[in-house]
């Protein structure tokens, strides 16, 4: 056994120098030798030939233990991996350590705080210090920790698909660079991630190889928005919506609260949805879209319209706004509208425009990445006319360096003059537009180097594949969506020796490739050239550079280039009788990059509730026309290509339009993503963008099972019981009625509750409770993923989801509701649903073994050890939030659940074990589980309070809002609030007293500890569909929701 040599880290350059011995101080050779010896005390004994029997056994035992338990067995140490011979004071086994970091993404870096236990990151939270995040994240950030530990991540350098090593790659790289000359034969394709260090290195590379080509491609990026912004404001500018300032928002084919937005937008929007009373002002959202999105779900008025008609809609709107504002140029820009383009209701446009105009300076019109640049430019022009520029729509300098498009790179590659292509992340073979035939273009290059975190389709077609480091493994930097500089700090050494793009570029540029140094250099360059350790430390601690936010610019609209862009664009028209095909960015796997992430695959899509698949979304009317049901496979033919994919009927979808999510049907992917969904990138063309018209749909007669977690989306007349809501007018009318929201539905008629049974007193100093604000919850499901990460919730696979056995402790219920006769225009409501922690819990009385009982602080707790799994508790739960381990999901592969337990393999990959939260039990089969209100966090806070109180005699009490549950922490809209309802200072105790507060199924006398805050709709009374708002909470007979509103007479 060769002895490992530890390279001890260099001492910090600042502060006092501490030394362990005089030997270290002097740095004598003896001391160095002593350091090299791993076990100085016993080493001589082992070296001597006559090892005692006892000693031998001791060593054997120790090595077995180390081999099995230490991380050493799953990776090679790179450097500085030194076990603590003496515990350092900041590392307590079992106690979490928190580090700031950053997740790179297309909307900039997301500032994070990473929870680590004993050196392994387990959970990701948003950076609470950062003004954009304030502690919130999204589903991708939450699930990225699972990507880190994916056992099927790329581990080895591959040469033509065979295992190679870094040394050979470096040799090859050297040869390539030596032959490159001025770089004419070099090309780079970046994944579009913005990082100042990468950009700096790119400039270094281009300095060395001035003729090298640099392109960027992100399948779900929005280059057209940039094109429109540059046409309007000049090169290098971008526009940033400020939803926090907008009173009236109109989105046209833009899922700003979902896949086409970011946390800043969501937070900004939600800030304007917080209402503390009937007089509170809230924003109004108009949405024009082809399919239901999260944005549509939050709308006050929604117009379903084919994506290809969005341009015509904006033209009509521009005409109306021009009429109101008297701006001739805008009217001219809109041009003439042909009658055939006019497929929407006149009054809708008129009243919407009037509302926008009436709120001049506080209105905002947004359109999305699928729309051509001309349409996006038209939206900018309308915003300008509405006085939005500089107010609700900011113009600022873009942080992204301009790059070539993938189309121009493909042309270049085909010339066959490129010697080497470096693909930095991404997967163009899979997701480049089909008409580029990227794989062929790539094949024309002599050497393709693909740096990627996973072996994917592109790696299979590249000569060299180099494993990339996960963002939690290496130093990086970026700009947050507000433009502030954020540093990505590694929290674990690369598990599989991956390197990141910065390192690779540094090698190409021939500069020192030490990742920390690379980022520090960028940091110090920005600060004036010299690294200030104090300011670096401050930035690391805060996670971002305070005060580095981008400044809005006061740039005038250059009408000329804008009108040129608009007028030159050929209008897109959807002829009658034809279908349009809309490609949507997936809410889970994105462009396919997260296909091997089980949490994301099993996360129900926020709108369709579909897991482990993509589907062709069609409206009920279209489905009827085609004669298909959900699950029928349809053939979509676009041009000369076609795909077969299962249809899913989505209420509220535009007719004659079909939407399909991209990113599924990966072929070169780990076992989780294999065979999941259908690849529709084959139908994407670079010329037509993200929707195509003239598409044919045909039924094939085949069936495909779609694993939808919510079989039933209708409220069955129970809206007034479950998802209570009112319009602003209704609320104002009943502003004095304390019970307005409490006495709806069945609770309006039920007699007062009383109990014959004396319940044990819940007399702890704490009483945990939760409020969920339905008015600001957008239904994004970040809470579900956060809960999954925090509570070690296993995934169960498609087959089990089809069987209704998904394990999510919380779910986001999504309902569609409509008035009779208006089924085509349903309203959508999202409702997070978790254990309601009933004080009078029906599950507790029925458990025969006392496995679920009540704690004094009001938790309905589960004793997993005691549970025998009768499932009686789950049956008796009115909210059906209990989850049963039908199989040993943690021990067995989800593909082998039905094989005899005795012959199938058991165990969890070691890396997956590393992700588990050590403070939460990993449940075995046959055991019931459910939301615990994150009892581990509660206990930690209580212990901290106890330690704080010590012997003072004061009763330990957790200060108000000192901590929160995982779902509340992640929530980007602050819709979920958790805390101590007995503490009058806590947010939750105030929120639950609001007039909007109600508890589910009050008449059952379960005394829930979760209060929902009713949703308020803010319709424009002049709109033609104003009367429909709030349909979801009216009963089947169309009575208004409030008891007092309609049947006050017969109470």
């Amino acid at each position: 056994m060769s002895k490992r040599i530890f390279q001890h880290p260099a001492e910090a350059q600042t502060g006092k120098r501490y030394w362990r011995s005089l030997g270290q101080l002097k740095d004598t050779p003896e001391f160095r030798g002593w350091l090299q010896r791993e076990f100085p005390q016993g080493a001589s004994e082992l070296d001597s030939s006559d090892v005692s029997r006892r000693g031998f056994l001791q060593y054997m035992g120790a090595s077995v233990a180390l081999a099995g338990l230490s991380l050493a067995s799953c990776r090679r140490p790179l450097k500085n991996l030194v076990p603590f011979t003496k515990a350092v004071e900041w590392s307590v086994p079992g106690k979490a350590l928190f580090f700031t970091s950053m997740m790179p993404g297309r909307n900039g870096g997301m500032p994070l705080v990473v929870t680590t236990f004993d050196g392994r990151p387990t959970k990701i939270e948003g950076n609470p210090n950062h003004p954009v995040n304030k502690g919130a994240t999204d589903v991708w950030a939450q699930s990225s920790v699972l990507d880190l530990y994916d056992p099927q991540r790329s581990r080895d350098v591959l040469l033509d698909g065979k295992k190679s090593d870094f040394a050979s790659f470096e040799k090859e790289l050297e040869a390539i660079l030596k032959a490159a000359g001025d770089g004419a034969g070099l090309a780079f394709l970046s994944d579009g991630i913005v990082s100042p260090t990468r950009d700096r290195l790119r400039r270094e590379v281009l300095k060395k190889f001035p003729k090298a080509k640099w392109a960027a491609y992100d399948p779900n990026g929005n280059p057209l928005e940039r094109a429109a912004a540059e046409a309007a404001f000049g090169a290098g500018h971008e526009v940033v919506p400020r939803l926090d300032r907008a009173d009236i928002v109109l989105t046209v084919d833009r899922d700003i609260l979902g896949v086409e937005g970011d946390i800043a937008s969501v937070r900004g929007f939600a800030a304007r949805r917080k209402v503390d009373g009937p007089k509170a002002r809230m924003n109004r959202l108009y949405v024009v879209e082809n399919r239901y999105t999260l944005t549509g779900g939050m709308s006050d008025h929604r117009l379903r319209l084919a994506a290809s008609r969005s341009g015509a809609f904006l033209k009509a709107l521009a005409k109306e706004v021009a009429k109101l504002s008297g701006e001739q140029s805008l009217g001219a820009l809109a041009g003439e509208l042909k009658a055939s383009e006019f497929k929407f209701k006149d009054r809708w446009v008129e009243e919407c425009a009037a509302d926008l105009w009436a709120n001049k300076g506080k209105a905002l019109v947004l359109t999305g990445s699928k729309q051509p640049a001309a349409v996006q430019a038209l939206a900018i022009a309308i915003n300008s006319a509405l006085g939005a520029l500089g107010k609700t729509l900011e113009v600022r300098k873009s942080n992204a360096m301009p790059s070539d498009s993938i189309e121009s790179l493909a042309v270049e590659l085909r010339k066959g003059k490129t010697a080497a292509l470096f693909i930095l992340g991404g997967n163009p073979v899979f997701n480049a537009p089909a008409d580029l035939r990227w794989a062929e273009a790539q094949a024309a290059v002599k050497t393709v180097v693909h740096l990627s975190i996973e072996k994917n389709e592109t790696s299979a077609k590249a000569q060299w594949h180099v494993p990339a480091a996960h963002y939690l493994e290496q130093w990086d930097d970026s700009f947050a969506s507000d433009g502030s500089y954020v540093v990505g700090q590694p929290v674990i050494l690369p598990l599989y020796m991956g390197i990141n793009a910065n390192e690779l570029l540094a090698r190409v540029a021939g500069v020192d490739a030490e990742p920390l140094g690379l980022v520090q250099k960028t940091f110090s360059d920005a600060a004036g050239g010299k690294l200030e350790p104090a300011s670096w430390a401050k930035t690391l601690k805060a996670g971002y550079s305070a005060g580095s936010q981008a400044k809005p610019l006061a740039v005038g609209l250059s009408a000329e280039t804008l009108s040129k862009l608009v007028s030159e664009a050929a209008p897109v028209r959807l002829p009658d009788g034809e279908f349009e095909l809309v490609f949507i960015a997936d809410s889970k796997v994105d462009d396919g990059r997260y296909a091997n992430n089980g949490w994301l695959q099993e996360l129900p899509d926020p709108v369709t509730k579909l897991t482990w698949d993509n589907a062709a979304l069609v409206s009920p009317a279209t489905a009827k026309k085609l004669g298909v049901e959900t699950g029928d496979v349809v053939r979509i033919t676009a041009g000369d290509k076609s795909v077969e994919i299962a249809a899913l009927i989505l209420p509220g979808h535009a007719d004659d339009s079909v939407s399909v999510a991209l990113g599924y049907g990966r072929s070169e992917v780990g076992s989780v993503g294999k065979g999941v969904g259908v690849d529709v990138f084959g139908l994407v063309t670079s010329s037509e963008g993200r929707f195509r018209v003239g598409v044919k749909l045909a039924k094939t007669g085949k069936r495909h099972a779609l694993a939808v977690t919510q079989e039933h989306g209708a409220l069955e007349g129970r809206g007034a019981d479950i998802t209570r809501q009112a319009t602003v007018a209704e609320w104002q009318e009943h502003s004095e009625d304390k019970d307005f929201f409490k006495k709806m539905g069945i609770d309006a008629h039920a007699p007062p509750n009383f109990s014959l049974y004396t319940h044990p007193k819940l007399d702890d100093v704490h009483a945990w409770g939760m409020t969920v604000d339905l008015n600001s919850c957008i239904g994004c499901a970040a809470c579900m993923t956060a809960c999954q990460a925090e509570n070690n919730i296993p995934i169960v696979g498609k087959e089990q989801v089809l069987n209704g056995r998904e394990m999510h402790w919380m779910r986001t219920d999504r309902y569609f509701a409509s008035e009779q006769g208006a089924e085509d225009e349903p309203e959508m409501v999202s409702q997070p649903m978790m254990c309601q922690q009933c004080e009078n819990a029906p599950c507790e009385t029925v458990c025969p073994v006392n496995a679920t009982v009540h704690s004094e602080d009001g938790l309905n707790v589960m004793a997993y050890n005691r549970c025998i799994g009768t499932r009686y508790c789950a049956n008796n739960c009115p909210f059906k939030v209990r989850r049963f381990n039908f199989f040993d999901y943690n021990q067995r592969s989800i593909t082998e659940l039905y094989r005899w337990n005795l012959i199938s393999e058991k165990g969890t990959p070691e890396t997956i074990q590393m992700q588990k939260n050590p403070n939460v039990t990993v449940r075995m089969r046959g055991v019931m589980e459910k939301c615990t209100f994150c009892v581990q966090r509660i206990q930690e806070a209580k212990i901290a309070a106890k330690v704080h109180a010590k012997d003072s005699g004061v009763q330990p009490r957790v200060p108000a809002d000192a901590f929160t549950s995982a779902c509340a922490q992640v929530c980007p809209t602050d819709a979920i609030v958790f805390g101590d309802i007995r503490n009058p200072e806590s947010r939750v105790s105030k929120l639950k007293e609001e007039q909007r507060g109600y508890r589910l199924l009050e008449y059952l006398n379960t005394e829930n500890r979760v209060w929902y805050l009713a949703r308020i709709r803010n319709p424009n009374p002049k709109m033609p569909d104003a009367s429909r708002a709030g349909a979801a909470s009216r009963d089947a007979h169309g009575h208004p929701a409030g008891h007092g509103a309609s049947n006050g007479g017969h109470a």
């Binding site: 919510q710 079989e711 039933h712 989306g713 209708a714 409220l715 069955e716 007349g717 129970r718 019981d721 479950i722 539905g745 069945i746 008629h749 089990q800 069987n803 209704g804 056995r805 998904e806 219920d813 309902y815 649903m833 029906p842 507790e844 009385t845 029925v846 458990c847 025969p848 073994v849 006392n850 005691r866 025998i868 799994g869 009768t870 499932r871 009686y872 789950a874 049956n875 008796n876 009115p878 909210f879 059906k880 209990r882 989850r883 049963f884 381990n885 039908f886 199989f887 040993d888 659940l897 039905y898 094989r899 005899w900 337990n901 075995m924 089969r925 046959g926 055991v927 019931m928 059952l1004």
Partner: protein
Amino acid sequence: MAKSTVTLETPPELVRPPLVNNDRSIHWVTQNVSDIVESRTPKWWFLSICITSPIALMGLVCIIYQISNGVGVWGENHPNGWAWDITNFVFWIGIGHAGTLISAVLFLTRQKWRTSINRAAEAMTLFAVVCAGIFPAIHVGRVWYAWFLAPVPNTNAIWPNFRSPLLWDVFAVSTYFSVSVLFWYVGLIPDLATLRDRAKSKLARMLYGIGALGWRGGNRQWRHYEMAYLLLAGLSTPLVLSVHSIVSFDFATSIMPGWHTTIFPPYFVAGAIFGGFAMVLTIMLPASRIFPQLGDMITREHVDKMAKIILLTGSIVGYAYLMELFVAWYSGNKFEGFTFFTARANVDGKGWYQWSYWIMMFCNVISPQIFWFKSMRRNYIVVFIVSQFVNVGMWFERFTIIVTSLAQDFLPSSWGKYSPSTTEILTFVGTFGIFLTLFLLFMRFLPMIAISEVKGVTPEADPHHHHPKH
């Protein structure tokens, strides 16, 4: 006789029909019942057990597979935490009601016609309870911890939850099983002695001898025996009512619409007797064909009386069904209304399991109405067919109650359909194998008819016996 004497003759329409036909003698009874056990094993018996025991074995294999892999091999899911498992449990436990009712309640009410059917009915009860007991045991996620249900004193001072109806179930069913075994065995003692005395092989003499506990048929022995039998009958009678009442509490004390119903205890007891008698007839009718000599003891009178009980209990059950619908409407509770009118009866086309509800309605309420006609009650084929309807109907009743309430409850978001897995179906089929195998073994080795009791009701045993006029 002189005309002036007052005739004590019973009018012919009030003459009780004899319980044993053809004026059979006491010896004939002993001879013919013992003969089934003593004669050579018939071929059909071998053939039957060769079919039933592999089925039982298959059930066993399914159970082992289920225990080793997890409950997931069944079709249960969220929200349907229970489905076939508890349906089968309640189905079998219901069947197990007829035996005790016949042997205990009819004994106390001096219904002498019970004598020729009580032994087999009791055996059937025991075997049905054995089958019933399988399901609650294996349906739990961790069978190896099922002993947590027992109130074992322990250092952690953790007791079972005495508020849980499932725990009451454990006590109720185990009590019922033990009392039933005891009752059945006590009844067997004199007959085992008969078999011992008649046995030709040494082994049989020894085994029956052990079972007979030294029975000599002495006066004192009979006195003690009858007192014990009476006491056990008294003990069993409340159990007949309690077991199924407690089983119904599993549902009635919950808060699920369709379960939370105060009518459940009497309705379940009536249903259990209803289903139990159907199963008695299912077994007895073929048995009396296979052994023609039993025809004089199991007569059309018996079948007629059992059919009447089926008609009565079936009508009680039917009343309960209708009352549930009425209460669901009258309460004005939309969740209750939905469960009964939509999820079950499916009046608006949104329910998922209306077929189950209407099968139940037809089999349990409509089909027994044919027994208003005496000719139908006495027609073995009709009775057999209706019994099968009742067996099916009673299974569907439990399925309807369990699954429709769970599949579509309060929040539409959590609704989910249920369908059984192959393992689940085969496990249920397997319990029929176990049931029939045990019954075949019983027929072969123990007297199917209570010899000593039937002897007591033969015309010959009547102290006022005189031959009726021919």
